[in-house]
């Protein structure tokens, strides 16, 4: 029966696509692709400047497109890439997504400035040819070659585009692919440091293996949820949870595995093991990018999944997440105390902050959502600025991240010590900084949701964590500088801009947070 094989199938309808809504993502990916072509055709000496120009244009352009869309965005948000007959599309563009896009673009801009900086180290923080064998003579020569692997710029843009997709993904498959798009460039970028090649490569391998392990768990969770709900769309999972005949075991196992995958990316609690090593080994600008943007993306995704898909099952995951938040805060605060390396210390600080963020993410009220979004914004800026300052203090071997070499820094450079103190106070959550407002908002939302015990534990953890931030401050101001200590490099325009942006945002969000809080609470997720 050949006519059956040749039967003309019905024409499928074109999926509904709102290009204006997703334009920021498209611009970022487009700029990244053009960046690859620039790598192909430009001679070596032109690459750095054109890549910088292209990347900055891309991010600013995406920001303008975002602003233009926000000015007349439909109330309550939309979903796009919707197939005919479907109820929701693959990408949700709603207030939280727009807020997170704005946050990611701003943080991405600051990171990009730090990544592109060539003043601190001749040629920048990245190796000029990663394909060479490290440890050999050639690599040692490389440290003095002023080139730079300029592929880092398109990679950063791809990671940024992946993050923006991740926080807006409305089904678990798109989320999984976006997770990989944001992770793969980061695995690679972690291994491109100019100095301490072995350390950097190890960080890349560890990050990669553990990241792939975690995404396998995430994926198995997706499969189980698909088996439970018959769909991976977040809304349909929620609908199935409300009334499905299928066994709830699949649902619980699925939720557990998906959340574990997300917690890993957010470097929370017991799934944090990669964090200190990778933060320490990766080139400092990449660490800043990873610490700020990945955290925003991971928690943005987690907020959406918990609110849109798993809300009807919230009684099941509240207790485990409660425990995880406590464990994460405890690990961050206690192990942070014992660190001798500044980058590791900030890594443990980020684990503690991840615990606070879980407190916000599991509070499924409007205040919980807006306060967590605000916390992400504030924390991201502070962290980027912190890593910017860390990259300034250098000795002959590159960055001096050992705590002892920071002793008496205030006498060498009062300005840098002052800025760093301010940033550390923001991380600790002292009033007049954005950290205080963020913690205050999250804790009061959790309190209003009836989670008093958790808030008390979080306060204790903040107090313990404040101790190790203050230890650094005391070290900088009240001890004698070492005789052959590191020098504070005067940063070029790019790093200065990044640090200024981060510090100013920390200050502004600490004094007049209302505009950001209002924006964050302008609307919830698209159902």
């Amino acid at each position: 029966m050949p006519q059956q094989f040749l039967a003309q199938g019905e024409q499928l309808q074109v999926p509904a696509i709102d290009f204006a809504a997703v334009l920021p993502i498209l611009i970022v990916f487009g700029a990244a692709s053009i960046g690859v072509l620039l790598e192909a055709f430009l001679p070596k000496h032109q690459r750095w400047s054109s890549q910088i120009a292209l990347s900055l244009t891309g991010i600013v352009g995406a920001g303008i497109a975002l602003a233009a869309y926000i000015s007349d965005a439909p109330e309550g948000g939309i979903t796009t890439f919707m197939a005919q007959g479907a109820t929701t599309g693959a990408i949700a563009v709603d207030t939280p997504a727009l807020f997170l896009w704005g946050t990611l673009l701003a943080l991405g801009l600051a990171s990009l400035l730090m990544i592109g900086d060539r003043s601190l180290e001749p040629g920048g923080a990245f190796i000029s040819q990663a394909g060479l064998q490290s440890g050999g003579l050639q690599t040692r020569e490389q440290a003095n070659v002023t080139g730079m692997q300029t592929e880092i710029f398109p990679l950063t843009l791809f990671a940024l585009g992946g993050m923006m997709t991740f926080v807006a993904a409305n089904d678990l498959l798109t989320m999984f692919i976006a997770l990989e798009v944001l992770s793969l460039p980061l695995y690679l970028m972690a291994g491109l440091a100019r100095r301490r090649r072995l350390l950097s490569q190890e960080a890349a391998v560890k990050y990669f293996l553990l990241g792939a392990f975690a995404s396998a768990f995430f994926l198995y969770g997706v499969a189980l949820l698909y088996g439970y709900a018959g769909s991976v769309k977040l809304a349909e999972i929620a609908a199935a949870t409300a009334g499905s005949s299928a066994s709830d075991t699949l649902l619980y196992a699925g939720i557990g595995l998906v959340v574990v995958g997300l917690l890993f990316k957010g470097s929370v609690g017991p799934f944090h093991t990669w964090t200190p090593d990778v933060y320490q080994g990766a080139p400092t600008p990449v660490t800043g990018f990873m610490a700020a943007c990945t955290k925003v993306a991971a928690f943005g995704g987690m907020l959406r999944v918990l609110t849109v898909a798993f809300e009807p099952a919230s009684w099941e995951w509240e207790v485990p997440l409660w425990l995880i938040a406590v464990i994460s805060m405890a690990i961050g605060a206690i192990f942070g105390l014992t660190q001798r390396d500044l980058k590791r210390m900030i890594a443990y600080s980020s684990i503690a902050h991840a615990g606070f963020l879980v407190v916000g993410a599991m509070t499924l009220t409007e205040d919980g959502l807006s306060s967590t979004l605000f916390y992400l914004l504030a924390y991201g800026f502070t962290t980027i600025a912190v890593f910017g300052v860390i990259s300034l203090v250098r000795d002959a071997n590159g960055e001096a991240t050992d705590l002892s070499s920071w002793a008496g820094l205030a006498k060498r450079s009062p300005l840098v010590a002052g800025v760093f103190t301010f940033l550390l106070l923001a991380l600790a959550g002292i009033p007049l900084t954005s950290g205080f407002i963020g913690k205050f908002a999250v804790f009061s939302a959790a309190l209003a949701d009836g989670n008093a015990a958790l808030v008390v534990i979080a306060l204790v953890a903040s107090a313990v964590a404040a101790f190790f931030y203050l230890r650094v401050v005391v070290l900088m101001y009240f001890s004698e500088p070492a005789a052959e200590g590191p020098a504070v490099t005067v940063p070029g325009a790019f790093t200065t801009a990044a640090i200024t942006l981060g510090t100013a945002a920390t200050l502004v969000l600490g004094i007049v947070p209302a505009f950001a809080l209002n924006w964050a609470s302008a609307g919830g997720f698209v159902p």
Binding site: M1, Q4, F5, Q8, G9, E10, Q11, L12, V14, S33, V36, L37, E39, A40, F41, G131
Partner: protein, 130 residues
Amino acid sequence: MPDDIAASGGLDAYLPLVMLLALSFGFAVFSVAIAPLVGPKRFNKAKSEPYECGIEPSPQPVAGGGRIPVKFYLTGMLFILFDIEMVFLYPYAVAADAVGMFGFIAVTIFIVAITIPYVYEWARGGLEWD
């Protein structure tokens, strides 16, 4: 006929394929097994060489401290890349009349995007055989 295939789990359609596989497998085993039994054995040093024509294999084994010819990784990588492109084109080709012009545009964007790294590798000299 296709409906019957579906009803029977779709396995009957593979009977010829399975038979062909069995045949080819059997032939391979037979050829490998029979050769040492009936063939004459004449050894000399040249036959134990990797290349009997007399070329010395230049990169020494890794264990002996030789360098690793890493550039072939790029070839393998490109193979995977185009493998995936092909695997995406197949469903498109079968569904082409259903997805129409719109599907054509989508798949064109995809192909152009895949071509970008290829162009990049080519322009950088990654495909040169030095």
